[in-house]
């Protein structure tokens, strides 16, 4: 029997079919949202292989919890929350394994971002999209995972401070402080990268 063509079926109907055990319908959902789910994992983990593995784990969890999907948000948003939670668990696990965390030292010493001079020129002005993305890629990799996570949840997931605090199990003050640091550090890194590339 030929496989059913799901390419024109909407997400809601695919979820319904997948709940009945139709893995072809679920495969179509994976195909539609895989880039977004992988991108979120990569933004948070900064490691290609880890992001692939974790995003696949998120899909398996999604399949197992399909009955919990109420349709209050879109299926893509629901899946994104699953992958974010898995990434947070993974980052916590990695942090526990690090005995001498540079991030902890950096955060404890604190205050660097408060004294940084204000950058009057937009470091990304005039850049092409690809180049801009490459620079942000490099700058993001230099942030600690706590700062990066707050930035990802706020800028990409569009969470409010309160939601981020709940997700990361910290205070709203910590969220504000980490977000401020992440933005200022990112601005400084992007400026440095601009200087580097103009020297070459």
């Amino acid at each position: 029997m030929a496989d059913k063509d799901y390419s024109s079926t909407d997400d809601q109907a695919l979820v319904g079919a997948a709940r009945q055990g139709d893995t072809r319908a679920f495969e179509e959902l994976v195909a539609r949202h895989r880039d977004k789910i992988y991108a979120r994992a990569f933004s948070m983990l900064r490691n290609e292989q880890e992001a692939i593995d974790l995003s696949q784990e998120a899909w398996v969890k999604g399949w197992q919890r399909l009955n919990q999907f109420q349709g209050e948000s879109s299926f893509g948003t629901w899946m994104t929350r699953i992958v974010i939670n898995l990434c947070l668990d993974e980052l916590r696990r990695q942090k526990r394994q690090r005995t001498d965390s540079m991030e902890a030292i950096e955060e404890e010493s604190g205050g660097v971002e408060r004294q940084m001079p204000i950058l009057e020129v937009n470091p990304t002005a005039g850049l092409e999209r690809t180049e801009l993305r490459q620079r942000i890629d490099r700058a993001m990799s230099q942030l600690s995972h706590e700062h990066r996570t707050v930035l990802v949840l706020h800028e990409f997931e569009e969470m409010e401070y309160k939601q981020i605090a709940k997700t990361m199990e910290c205070s709203i003050g910590t969220v504000m402080s980490r977000l401020f640091y992440a933005r200022r550090k990112l601005a400084a890194l992007l400026t440095d990268l601009k200087k580097e590339s103009s020297k070459q």
Binding site: D35, Y38, L119, I136, M140, E160, A187
Partner: protein
Amino acid sequence: MNYEAQLKLQSFLDGELPENDAREVAAWIARDKQAAGLLAELRHTREAVTGYEEGIRLPESREFYWSKIQREIDRARPATAPAAPAFSLWAYLRRLAVPATALALIAIAGLVANRGVHGGGAVGVTEISVSDTEALTYRDFSADTTLVWLSYPADNEVAQNTPSDTLP
């Protein structure tokens, strides 16, 4: 500018301030160049990262990526109990074949015996043994009656020595 003021500026940018506070901060930015500069920097950074994820693509083919997910899904599925065999007409007919064959042979034997003695006045007696079935046919031409005596299966040895699933 103190740290609290810096964070307030950021909250203003993110729309996290109550209306009254937001109005105050807007007025402050209008008269303070440094505050306006910091706000511009924070806004540039926010704009720079917007759309960053949209350019990220999964570095694996659809089939390869899906294959691992499918494997994990299949592994997590509970083992299904073997289903009860569905009704099969063929199996049903096969079960009927032995007694039906026996009965058919008996009927044929009856006919053969009938022909062999046709026209005579004597009583014809024929005995046929088929497998575990025994049958005796009596034909009384004077009375124009045929009697078939079946000893299938209860009277024979096989039936007595094996558990029977035949009709009584």
